[in-house]
């Protein structure tokens, strides 16, 4: 959403579009001519840039400056392969010849889809796909070589560009499948079916080539229907021998390819824009696509910094540029993005930001007080809903809704309280709380009641669930949900949670799903991207600390004495720091295992701050790894009632 909105703001005037289109096509021609005639490149560029006169041009020039880089790189990668070929020597010429035409075809294809060429990453990808399909037509041997050499490259620690790695893998998988077809036919003619099936097993590994060739050479005459044990033994010996040969050669190649790594040409180094260029860009119209390309480039450089950096630029230059670009593309404010950059490594950060752009699947929790998962699933399937049980075995009451022709929050089943729409992540704190029948449980900030009704369901309407929310308006929805789901063991109150041990204490278990900045649920509420400032974080963390202390004091150590703290935020300030604060202020509590067997462990140290080592027992959940909202869960056990 953020992206689209940004685009709308930057809608250029028709004249500008004309200019832009004219220029980009001109630039693309330059690129193409650059690829085919490397020598003329400089001259062409001069011409193109010579034409541009007004102030906006700089951004376009820049876009051109680095967008050709990926293209060059792919070409280079492929040619590198040919350099690095060391194994089966008889194949070398074949593979070379097979790749050179591919290279030519590539440059031609750039010619043909000029218009798409400014969508650099996408166009590239499709280009490569084309490339691989071309390769399919080539000889068997050549096909055998390409994927293997690709893998060598990706194994190289020094391989610079993750982006290309990915694409090369794509290429791998395609040519692999094509290869399997090609291989099977001649092989089965030569060998008995046993070997053929062996081969099939191995196709997924990286050693197809050996299977098809070495196996051919050495055993083509030897095995004739050996189904005996001795025969099988022989075969396995052979295979182990083969394996060792392959390993050796693989290592050799790896070493050699390291040695033969060609020096980077200057044109291939991504050039970070200068300060004045940035200024000009700020005043003009920013081109989303070129900035996305630049983000990718900077990430590539950062992933292999010593090799790809410009000698006169420091890491922080790259990072600050990356930050401002990410801010522009994804629409975050500076403060929040800095926070996120502190939490994630750069490549993971982009994954996280991307995950926030797409919604999480809708999940529902079946109300076990009224129905069973099977019945609800059947009833909904009858209505044409496409659903599945929640992935993983951790929940017995969750269903994921993929597609629904009816509004899932207005079916008769929903109205009669058979299920509750509830994100998968909010099951977790309740699972951690693990309420038992006949206990007294406090839910401190409960609205709209998804978690409290789950607690009540787990307690089978026995005992007492004391449900509190500080916001009176939100208690309406809370009460509605409690009644709809047929929960009879609750008492709903409207207090500020910080008043709590005074209102009532002595609870077996306390659940505190604290109010938070919502950085884990940006996909639900994108306004978080821009409306959270440092002041908000200071205020929230203060509130969270006070609430957690209140929650701890409300639990009773002489009973179960469990406190669960959770937030839908992923910033360390709101999670680990708050928990650590509580541990230091209340030595009578300790952290215990949450009982959830997935998710990442909490940070024990973060940017120079060291937290208690038991913080590793807390759990973090991220949208890009768990496909649920970002979430944090910590479970405390109160060991004594004295506060000291």
């Amino acid at each position: 959403m953020g992206r689209k909105a940004k685009n709308k703001q930057d809608v250029p005037l028709p004249i500008e579009i004309e200019k832009q289109v004219g220029k980009t096509t001109a630039g693309l021609r330059n690129k193409l001519s650059y690829i085919t005639h490397k020598n003329q490149k400089a001259a062409n560029n001069k011409k193109a840039s010579g034409k541009k006169t007004n102030s906006n041009t700089i951004s376009f020039v820049k876009a051109e400056d680095h967008s050709p880089a990926p293209i060059k790189n792919t070409v280079k990668n492929i040619s590198q392969k040919t350099h690095n070929q060391t194994i089966p020597s008889n194949k070398r010429p074949a593979s070379k010849s097979s790749i050179t035409p591919a290279k030519k075809i590539k440059s031609q294809s750039w010619d043909s889809d000029e218009n798409e060429a400014d969508q650099a990453p996408v166009a590239e990808q499709s280009d490569i796909d084309q490339n691989s399909s071309e390769e399919e037509d080539l000889s068997d041997d050549a096909n055998d070589d390409t994927p293997d050499s690709d893998k060598e490259q990706s194994n190289e620690p020094a391989d610079p560009r993750t982006q290309h790695k990915k694409m090369l893998f794509d290429l791998d998988s395609e040519s692999e499948s094509s290869q399997s077809e090609l291989d099977d036919i001649p092989d089965q003619e030569e060998h008995d079916s046993d070997l053929g099936s062996d081969q099939d097993d191995h196709l997924e590994d990286s050693d197809e080539e050996y299977d098809s060739d070495k196996v051919n050479d050495s055993f083509s005459d030897s095995d004739d229907g050996d189904n005996t044990i001795a025969g099988l033994e022989r075969k396995s010996e052979r295979l182990t021998k083969l394996q060792s040969i392959m390993d050796e050669e693989g290592e050799k190649e790896l070493l050699e390819s390291k040695l033969h790594m060609p020096a980077l040409q200057e044109t291939e180094v991504f050039v970070l824009p200068e300060a004045d260029e940035i200024e000009a860009e700020e005043s003009g119209i920013k081109d989303m696509k070129s900035i996305q390309v630049r983000i990718q480039e900077i990430i590539n450089v950062l992933n292999n910094f010593t090799r790809l950096k410009q000698s006169d630029r420091s890491r922080s230059d790259y990072i600050s540029q990356l930050q401002s670009d990410l801010q522009f593309v994804y629409g975050y404010n500076e403060y929040l993005l800095t926070k996120l950059m502190e939490i994630f490594p750069i490549s993971e950060l982009v994954e996280f930001l991307e995950a926030n752009e797409s919604p999480r699947p809708i999940t529902i929790r079946v109300n076990t007080l009224k129905s069973k998962r099977k019945q609800v699933a059947q009833a909904l399937i009858k209505r044409g809903v496409n659903l599945d049980v929640i992935s993983g075995k951790w929940s017995k009451v969750g269903l994921t809704i993929y597609e629904s022709p009816v509004p899932i929050g207005a079916t008769p089943e929903y109205m009669s309280g058979l299920y509750m729409i509830q994100s998968a992540s909010s099951f977790l704190p309740v699972l951690a709380l693990d309420p038992q029948p006949n206990e007294r449980v406090l839910d401190m900030s409960a609205a709209p009641g998804g978690k409290s009704t789950y607690v009540a369901a787990l307690m089978q309407n026995s005992g007492i669930v004391f449900v509190n929310d500080a916001n009176k308006d939100r208690t309406r929805a809370l009460v509605a949900n409690i009644h709809r789901l047929g929960v009879t063991n609750t008492l709903v109150s409207n207090y500020d949670g910080r008043e709590f041990p005074k209102v009532m204490g002595g609870f077996d278990r306390v659940l505190l799903d604290a109010p938070c900045s919502g950085t884990g649920v940006i996909s639900k509420d994108p306004s978080v991207k821009t409306n959270k400032s440092e002041a908000d974080f200071v205020m929230l963390t203060q509130l969270q600390k006070e609430l957690l202390i209140a929650a701890i004091d409300s639990a009773s150590a002489s009973k179960a004495g469990i406190i669960v703290y959770s937030t839908c935020s992923i910033t360390v300030d709101e999670d680990e720091a708050v928990v650590n604060y509580a541990l230091s202020k209340r030595p009578n509590v300790k952290l215990v295992e949450t009982g959830i067997d997935f998710g990442k462990s909490g940070f024990t140290s973060f940017r120079g701050k060291h937290f208690d080592s038991s913080l590793a027992l807390t759990k973090r959940f991220y949208p890009h790894t768990n496909n649920m909202d970002g979430f944090f869960v910590a479970k405390f056990q109160k060991v004594s009632n004295s506060k000291k």
Binding site: R476, N489, M504
Partner: protein
């Protein structure tokens, strides 16, 4: 929060007996614990005594709800049963009407039940009697109403005749969330 006065109890029980008949006694003498009715902000709540005792220590301004709300007294002293009571009413109801799938949505949007929608109904329902409405397919309670005709007359009625007047349905959780609670 306070216990109901005698008059209130009378009005309330009269209304309730319309739906559950003599089963009111089983609401009060329950094998699984002591339950009681409490009045809070004109609303009648049915709650286990343990919870009620805890609620005493909650300030009346801060207390929002406890147990299950049966309904409310309006300003003229009449009692109105809410959909929230369905969980108990359905459990103890005397008379039931099952609605076919074509009538379910219509009822959940607040319409009366026509003869064409009735799948089956208890045999001996008299006129103007409280009935609980069930869905014929899944046998889940959807709401309640009052019969417009006795069961014996239903067979003679034309297909568009109203059989049950709508009083409360589960759709109110969505439609009337602001006024209901």
């Amino acid at each position: 929060m306070r216990p109901l006065t005698e008059d209130e109890t009378k009005t309330f029980f009269k209304k309730l007996s319309n739906y559950v008949g003599k089963n009111i006694s089983s609401l009060i003498d329950r094998p699984d614990g002591m339950y009681c009715f409490r009045l809070h902000k004109n609303r009648v709540y049915y709650v286990r005594e343990e919870i009620m005792k805890l609620a005493i220590s909650v300030g009346s301004k801060n207390l929002i709800s406890l147990g299950i709300c049966f309904g409310k007294f309006n300003n003229s002293g009449k009692f109105r049963l809410h959909i929230t009571s369905l969980v108990y009413i359905a459990q103890y109801s005397k008379y039931k009407v099952w609605v076919k799938s074509n009538g379910i949505m219509s009822f959940l949007y607040g319409n009366h039940i026509l003869k064409a929608h009735v799948g089956k109904m208890s045999e001996d329902v008299p006129e103007h009697m409280g009935v609980v409405i069930y869905s014929l397919d899944s046998d889940t309670p959807l709401g309640f109403g009052a019969t417009a005709k006795a069961a014996t007359e239903v067979s003679k009625a034309n297909p568009n005749a109203i059989i049950v007047y709508h009083q409360a349905d589960a759709g109110e959780y969505l439609r009337d969330e602001d006024t209901l609670f």
